[in-house]
Symmetry: C2
Subunit: 293 residues, 2 copies
């Protein structure tokens, strides 16, 4: 028996397996194409011939396969997971995590669902982070090994979807904001303003953005969206000016016209005088209406 | 003669006129409805009967009317602006600033175009800011008075459109990012994660966002979009997962599906392996194609 098995030996899976070997665990590895196992057996790992054999070699298996359906496919529906723990680190939706948990539970296994916020080179270092969701006692039992994958790792919730939900929510904010900055760069340069001049104006806004994020949380908790400062109407007016100006330079304002659309919906739903966080109950209304249509 | 005239006595115009009176300037004011001038004449200002009379009372006129066409309308095409300076502080597009400058120049006047980044209560305080664009010698001649409107004020460029360009570009980033966070809140809560738990995950990302903004500027300057870290393909994959997950909860991912669309365009244009700042040349391509179609 090994301490742990690792399925999937891409850059990330290999880094995880190497880290666990380095930290003194006995590790069994498996990959669809066997040559990727060679550096790991050279480092002291054991190679399994099949994914099923790998899972049966250890009480706990970490899957770094491309997604949860790849895991189901290579284990097969007949596998018995009694007493075994699967830690799925494939990026996926909350629904993917829930479905896989049902599949594992049906086969008497236990599961944690994790998301990786680290580059392969950061795994096992203080700046590497893996967030895990699932039953707390299952986490406690395996925490020492799982925390070894990086200093910023932790248990984020008992509900199996929590890691994926937090990861995707954070990425909605982060990736959309980066896209918005890219659009701002192209807008500015079309009117003769270079990116380095623009960034001087954007940088002082970052602490304001943090305050706005905190303010949104407070407003959603209190349900009070009144304000005597900038409103949904103000935001809509500004994004409308952007939209008009973009038309004059033949630019396609992909992100800012989505923001314009959101705040225009706010105006048409009678929320023009609310603080911009009033977009939260607006988006809930839209969701609730679609659920019932 | 007064030192300065102020057109438009809404909350902002009144605050500007009061500030100038408080700082010892002689001020003439005008508003379409005359009762708004009363508190200012009580404070020592002079009221003009028409906008034209107000402009003719001072070497420099600050317009805080709703937009530049309101200014043109109340001055009339026959006005002679020889030797007079118009400082337009109405929010508008770069094209609005350019058009108004042509209109003023044709009537022998001079013009600065400004954008206000302050609430009325901040005008005249260290945290009030007005950014001005226009000829540097015109700025130098009037800087003392214009800087009196707030400690964060300054001259941002000689091109008349610079203030509006910087303002709208900054708002593309800032308002779209806030909208993205609002969407993230609604996404997270649909999967049982509360806003205060989400914000714990978003807050550590803010310094990363700042680094990403700086990195984008460096990449656009160098034209090198190669990377061995997260790519346009990664960003597209993540936003695609968000899109799928949003469908399961009947949510309408307005901002994140715009980001998904942008990065999907990047993938289909062969930029999947580029750093996300590769969206900048992509958006330029899209713009250039529309200009020629």
């Amino acid at each position: 028996m090994s301490d742990v098995s690792v399925l999937g030996l891409g850059l990330m899976g290999s880094s995880i397996a190497h880290t666990l070997i380095d930290k003194g665990y006995s590790v069994t590895v498996w990959n669809r194409t066997t040559e990727k196992a060679a550096p790991l057996t050279a480092a002291g790992g054991k190679a399994a011939f099949t994914a099923v054999e790998a899972v049966e070699s250890s009480p706990i298996t970490i899957s770094v396969l491309v997604d949860s359906s790849a895991l189901v496919e290579c284990l097969g529906d007949d596998i018995d997971l009694t007493g075994r723990t699967i830690v799925n680190l494939a990026t996926g939706t909350p629904a993917d995590a829930r479905e896989l948990e049902q599949w594992v539970t049906k086969r008497n296994g236990l599961m944690l669902s994790g998301t990786i916020s680290a580059y392969p080179k950061d795994i096992g270092t203080p700046v590497g982070g893996v967030n895990y969701a699932g039953p707390i006692e299952l986490w406690n039992r395996n925490a020492e090994m799982l925390l070894a994958l990086g200093g910023l790792s932790g248990h984020v919730g008992e509900v199996i979807t929590d890691a994926s939900t937090l990861d995707l929510s954070m990425l909605i904010f982060y990736m959309s904001s980066i896209a918005a900055f890219q659009e701002a760069v192209v807008f500015a340069e079309a009117f003769g303003v270079s990116p380095d001049r623009l960034v001087e104006f954007v940088r002082p806004g970052l602490p304001v953005l943090e305050r706005e994020v905190d303010e949104t949380v407070r407003r959603v908790e209190s349900g009070d969206y009144t304000t005597d400062e900038a409103t949904i109407g103000t935001f809509h007016h500004c994004m409308d000016l952007v939209w008009k100006a973009s038309a004059t330079i033949a630019a396609r304002p992909i992100i800012s016209s989505a923001a314009r659309e959101l705040f225009a919906l706010g105006v048409s739903e009678g929320r023009a005088n609310e603080i911009p966080s009033g977009a939260v109950p607006l988006l809930r209304q839209i969701r609730d209406r679609s659920q019932h249509s």
